[in-house]
Structures are given as structure tokens and as C-alpha cells.
Symmetry: C2
Subunit: 455 residues, 2 copies
């Protein structure tokens, strides 16, 4: 069984909110140490998202499997004065010993269905909330954006060019991975190639051209083509774009190196692409691809392609790497059941909105769509939540990133066009079973006696 791989050697025991530690200590002291079940769910779809692409499970599992409080962590916690000897001793040997059920990465899903469930001794389940949300939330956020960009590109490759715009360089591996599993062809981030095997790519920057001085564009192109004969994609918009294209053609002729492509990074990309295509075709360089970049997103890409712009590939940075139009997911980590007298009893916080779903769940998929059921129900269709960890040990052979990307491709093909379209997509619905609706009604009716409800 393959061990889930973390992005770095770090463990994240202290990447928690302080209240997770104070509550955990309170639970431990009062022997509230039975199992509790929490589900990680995106409550509602962000604007302009018809569905989510589940991502980040492998790093979430790596986090859980490697959860350790180091000596330094414990020394810091002791110094805060908030924690007892007893609790710190408990943390010293704490390992994640619970269960995890999760959607396979790359699964397309609507709002309200759990991406992940943790069933674990309450202290453990309490400590992992924020890290799990940040890991799974981040990759799911990015994958759910990238799938739109990839759709807009209509079969043309999309590359992640976002490193420089990310919320810190450490976000890069999560972004590159989420992008790749959601359909991107690769990334410019070299570390993602080294750590995750994701194909890397790159062209040249304006400063490379500028470094050759006035009138240096063609000599610069010639040098780059000689240096990278297989993959010299020349950035042609440093000075005048179409003169840049002419110089790219001339550089290819002068060096005898076939032109792999050109990149357009500014100006009226559509018009420039058409003119560049003509110049390249007239020069007999039909093989040369035209790559577009520069603040692109799914909207701009689809408008360019609809206008007939002859573009062959896209480098997408800011909008991909920050999911700029929807830079956060409303993911929650919600207590759904707790052990009382030896059995798991559904719970629900009754002050929250009416869509709360008490109890542990399963999602069943049939040709008619997805249905959220209580985990005790059996239904026709495919059960999407799979057992991944049992008693702290892996029980599922994790797919490779390539397998996840292939699975995600198949998943997206299942969706109706109305759910996948760029503009105002219809939300992918998750229905509830009668048993779940009945449980919710019992909760709603029980407002005067809120809190725990028998399942």
C-alpha cells in the first residue's frame, strides 16, 4: 500500500487554531475521548462554479499519517501556560488512529456532499480541523477553477504559469498539482516537476530579449534557438509584436532551427495571433505554435477562441493560481455524529441554516445524478465515499497523479453541458434521501430541544 506523499518534510502539528488545542485538552481532561465524526463539506458553490473537483486528499492523508508533536512543539506549548503536563504527555505520543472516508481525487461533485469524513477519538478529530480545511480547500479551489479554464481552451493545452502570483511560494506545489489533475498540461514551476513529476514548460522573458540591447531582438532569438533547438518558443512582444514575429522567422532561417513556437503576452492577442499566423504560414512555418499568456482566464480564452484566434496553447498565471474570481471556498469541518454509549449518534447544530445535514453520509451516484444518504442506508449506484484509512492505517491503494488526471477527465465527461459551461453554469445538484430529509425534519421540529438527536 503506497504511503501518501507530503509536499515537504514538515509536519503541521502546530498548524492548528489555538482553540483546537484548548478544546482538545478540555475533552481529554474530562474523558470525552470517544469517537466523533466530522465531515469536510463545501456548503455552497462559489459564483460561476457549476461543480467542484475534489482535490488534495493525498496531502491531507500525508498530514494525518505524519501528525507528530515534536519536542520543540511541546516546549512551545508548555511555555504558553495553557496546557497541563498530562495533556502535553498525551500529545507527545499522539498519532492519528482514526478512520478516513473520502471522495477519490478528481471526482466532480456538487455542494453539500462531504469530500472527506474523519471518525476518530475526539481529541484527534478536534486537532486536525484547520490543516485539513486548508489542504483540501486549497487544492479543491484551484482544481475547480482550472477545470473551467481547460474547458474554455477546448482541447488546447493549458499551462500553470502562476508561481509568482501565489500566496507564498509554498502554495506552488498544491496549485501545480491541482491544476494538473484537473486537466492542465503542465506547469512552469520546476519544483512541481521535481517533487510531483508534473511536466514542466517555459519560454523566455522580456528581459532576455532586452539584455541583447537595442536591435538585439533577432540576435537574442538566434541565440535562444541554438541553445534550445527542440523547445525554443520565442517571446515576440518585447518591442513591436509583428516585427518580433518576422525576426523569429528570420532567426529560425538564420540558425536552421525549426521554430517551435512564439508567445504573445500583450496587446490585442486575437488580432496579433491572426496576423502572426499568416506571417508564419507564409514563411512555411506551419509547425510553429502560437502560445498566448498575459492575465488570461476562462472568459478571455473562450472569447479569443470564439473569435477564431488561431491560438495553440495558453499559459495562465494569476487567475489560475489564485482562483481570482472566487479566491476561497466555504468549506466547513462539521461535527455530524458522536459516540454515545457505544454507538454513533447523529448531531446537528440547530442554529445554523436549514440545509444542515445531520449524521454521517454516503453519496450515491447513478445515471440520474448524485444523492446524499445517511451512511447506514444502502442504495443503488456507486458509493463515492471510499474507506481510505482505518484505525490510522492506509486501506486504499492511492492512485498516481496521472491516474487521478485520467479519472478526472472521465468524471468531467459525465457532466451535462449546462453544468460545465463557462457562463452561469447550472449547479450540479445533490439530492437528499427521504431518510435524510426525515432526520432533518426531526431536527427542525426539535428546535426547542436542540443538540443531540437520536438517528
Amino acid at each position: 500500500m503506497r504511503e501518501p506523499q507530503p509536499f515537504s518534510g514538515e509536519t503541521y502539528a502546530l498548524h492548528c487554531d489555538e482553540y483546537e488545542l484548548t478544546m482538545a485538552q478540555s475533552f481529554l481532561h474530562h474523558r470525552e475521548t470517544d469517537d466523533a465524526a466530522f465531515e469536510l463539506t463545501v456548503r455552497s458553490l462559489p459564483p460561476q462554479r457549476g461543480y467542484l473537483v475534489a482535490a488534495g486528499l493525498e496531502q491531507a492523508l500525508a498530514y494525518l499519517r505524519r501528525l507528530r508533536f515534536s519536542e520543540d512543539d511541546l516546549i512551545f506549548l508548555a511555555k504558553t501556560g495553557l496546557f497541563s503536563e498530562d495533556f502535553l504527555t498525551h500529545l507527545q505520543t499522539l498519532r492519528f488512529a482514526g478512520d478516513v472516508d473520502a471522495l477519490a481525487e478528481g471526482t466532480v461533485i456538487g455542494a453539500g456532499a462531504p469530500l472527506l469524513r474523519i471518525t476518530a477519538p475526539r481529541v484527534q478529530a478536534t486537532l486536525v480541523e484547520s490543516a485539513l480545511l486548508a489542504i483540501v480547500g486549497h487544492q479543491t479551489l484551484i482544481a475547480s477553477k482550472v477545470t473551467r479554464i481547460v474547458d474554455a481552451a477546448a482541447g488546447r493545452p493549458v499551462f500553470d504559469f502562476s508561481l509568482r502570483r501565489l500566496h507564498g511560494p509554498d502554495a506552488a506545489l498544491g496549485v501545480a498539482r491541482a491544476a494538473y489533475l484537473a486537466g492542465a498540461a503542465g506547469t512552469a514551476t520546476v519544483a512541481a516537476g521535481a517533487c510531483l513529476g508534473i511536466p514542466t514548460t517555459g519560454t523566455m522573458a522580456h528581459h532576455y530579449v532586452v539584455s541583447f540591447g537595442a536591435d538585439g531582438e533577432q540576435p537574442g532569438f538566434e541565440q535562444f534557438l541554438r541553445d534550445y533547438p527542440e523547445r525554443g518558443i520565442l517571446l515576440v512582444d518585447t518591442y513591436d509584436t509583428l516585427r518580433g514575429v518576422e525576426r523569429a522567422i528570420a532567426a529560425s532561417r538564420a540558425t536552421g532551427v525549426a521554430l517551435a513556437g512564439i508567445r504573445l503576452d500583450s496587446g490585442d492577442i486575437g488580432a496579433l495571433a491572426r496576423a502572426a499566423r499568416r506571417l508564419l504560414d507564409d514563411a512555411g512555418m506551419r509547425q510553429a505554435r502560437i502560445v498566448a499568456s498575459g492575465d488570461l482566464d476562462e472568459w478571455k480564452i473562450s472569447a479569443l477562441l470564439e473569435s477564431g484566434a488561431p491560438l495553440d496553447a495558453f499559459g495562465v498565471g494569476t487567475m489560475l493560481g489564485t482562483s481570482a474570481d472566487a479566491p476561497h471556498l466555504g468549506a466547513i469541518y462539521k461535527l455530524v455524529a458522536q459516540c454515545e454509549q457505544g454507538r454513533m449518534v447523529p448531531v446537528m447544530k440547530t442554529s445554523e441554516d436549514k440545509r444542515g445535514d445531520p449524521g454521517m453520509h454516503q453519496v450515491f451516484r447513478t445515471e440520474a445524478g448524485d444523492t446524499l444518504a445517511l451512511s447506514t442506508e444502502t442504495m443503488p449506484g456507486q458509493a463515492l465515499l471510499q474507506p481510505v484509512i482505518r484505525h490510522g492505517e492506509m486501506c486504499l491503494d492511492l492512485p498516481s497523479l496521472e491516474q487521478i488526471a485520467a479519472y478526472c477527465r472521465d468524471q468531467r465527461a459525465l457532466l451535462p453541458e449546462a453544468v460545465r459551461r463557462i457562463a452561469d453554469p447550472e449547479p450540479w445538484e445533490v439530492r437528499r434521501t427521504p431518510a435524510l430529509e426525515a432526520l432533518r425534519r426531526r431536527v427542525a421540529a426539535g428546535l426547542r430541544r436542540p443538540g443531540v438527536l437520536a438517528g
Copy 2:
């Protein structure tokens, strides 16, 4: 001289775009190894930002000081087939040996002024672009958001509650640090306390209350107050908020533990705060503070306070940690000068917009405002860009985070109200000197002979 501190043990040599490596190799092979100067500049202010708060310098310096290509890095690069023995040997011993000039962290600044300048052998200056942008861009983005939230809170403490919503858990230290230097009172992220000494805080979650079962709110409160008599802030909105306040009061009486405060996380926060304040005051619990949270930002906080809501502190998550209304900065890393025959010659890419500023710069601050000058000019006022690294060695004693936060407080006090206001702030202007304007005109006039221009 204090060594700049990284967030983790990682080095980030491969956290670069592939083209940085391919261009660097090309420069090395063709002996274009003289110095080049690049400036990291935010070209324009994001919407609803009157100014930026410079942040992230210490981690940028730590990155440069620790820049190393490990054996594993080199093995990966060799396997790509893109790089020569020569180049890899060069990388093996590569250390950052250039100069860095930078704004002090916490400086308030307008668009167009450099936050940082790297003057280094061209290969080195080329390799560090994306990592520097991601490090400085991220913290500056967050600090520039937090300063607004802190202003809206009008002296009441603001706490970073964002970990769960971040673009991966690794973004947490940058966010907590940027928030703290820009005026936040602390963070819920424990790792930021352990690594950076930032004060941590926390209350309790709904699931703590729910764990006590039906009718368990008051027993839960009592337990928490006994466990944390100094800092028990009780979350009162799990069921009915005002009944929650009554139970908090009752729990305080039952335990004899003075109520530190309550937290409101949902509903009509303004009305609930007023009613809660009355209940607390009537109970003689004037010391109990009311903390608000739940999708807050500077707009909601200022509206709440304008309506007279008696709130004492704010926990801000999503909107703070993702700078949700402006989730990216248009920061660029631009070649501004390069060494030719022994002297640094200003350069500028002429195809870009008319606001390009060729040459190396200094920012002078007087009571009349900020002026961007050529680095060769002398002017009255304070020169904001300071030498930080010379020939790879630290030459400035870095301030502590506390010192940066105090400096930032003073900096913000310098700004006119119109620049600081929440709604439609006026942009903090950066004027240009006549010499810089003249150089730019020479560039504009020299469009037919673009590229390098004598300074």
C-alpha cells in the same frame, strides 16, 4: 548582524519558473555574466487600496541567503535533458553574491515605487524572480488588506482567524506575520506563535458546545470556564444566541469564574451585540468583552461600529487571509539597468505602457510626499530604499517583528485620512523627478530605436 529567518528549513532553489533556468543557462554559456539590476514594483494599486504596506523582506532575504541547489535538485535538472554539465556545476556552487536594496518592512508606499532591488550577476538575478515575487507579493498583499481592517476596527483588536481558508497551510506564517506587522493584535494560528512569537488567541468552536448534548450549553460553558479561568471566551450562538448569553452569565456565576468575554459568530451581529451588552451589564459583568467573527471584513466592521454596535474585538478569517476582494498584486520584477563596459546603463522595455520607469531608483520622502528619483540623484528628504545586502552579505541589522509593527503604526499615521479611508481611498501618489521624466521621454522618443538607452 542578525541573520534573516526563513519560515521553514526548506530552500527554494527549484521554486522558480523553468524559463528562469533556461535563460540563466543561456546567459552563462554566452558569458553574459555581468551585473543586472531588477526592481520589484507594484505597478498599480488594487481596487479599494490607497497605499501598500511593504512586507515580506525578511523571508525574501532568508531565501536569497540560503539559496542552494541540492544534489537532488541537480539530479532532477540533469534528468530533464535541458541543462549542460557546465551549467549544473555552476549551480552546484551558486550562492547569492549580489546586492539588495529595499524599503523597510512596514513602510507605506504608493504604486510604482520599488519595494526591492536586486543588483547581481545576471544568472543569479534571473533565477530568483518568481520566488521573490511570491514571497514579497504575498505578505505585501495581506499587510495591505489588514491595515484597512485594523483601521475599520478603530482601536479595537483584530485577530487573524484565517488558517482554514488559506491557499494551503504553508501560507499561514506569511499571513499571520503580515497581519501582525500591519496592526493585527495576534493570530489563532499556533505555529505563528511558535515560529514568530506572535501572540496567539482562541475561543471555542460550536462542536465543543454540541458535544455536551441537548441542554448541554451551560454545562459546556461551565467546564470551559473552569478549564480556562483566565481566558474563557464563550461562543454563544450555537443554539439561541441571547439564551446563550444568559447561560454564559449563569455559568460564570455557577463557577465563580469572571467571564472574560463572549463571541458572536452569526446572525445580526449589531443587534445581538447590543442585547448581549445589556444582559452582561445588567448582570454586573461589564468586564466581559464581546468578540465578533463570521465573514467579517473592513466594510462590515466599520458598518457595525458606525451603527454603534458595542463590539470589543474582531476575529477575521477568510477576507483577511485571502485578501478576498483583491486576491493578487500586480507586482513585477523588472530589468531596469544592466552593466555595459563597466557601468550600469538604464534599460526599459518600450512596448509596455507609458508608465515604465527606466533606470535604478531611489524613493525620497518629504512632508510634501514621495518622489521617485534615479538612484544617481540626490534630493532632500529621507531615502526609503536602504542597502540590505552587499556582495551577498547582510549589511543592515534587521528589525524585530515588534519593531516593524511599531514602525508601521507610525507610518500609517503619516497618511492623510483620504488615503486611509475604507471607501474609495485616494491613491498615495509617487511623483517622478524631472530627471526621471526626461529619461522616460528620451525612451518614448526613441521608439524607433528601442531597447537600451544611455542614462
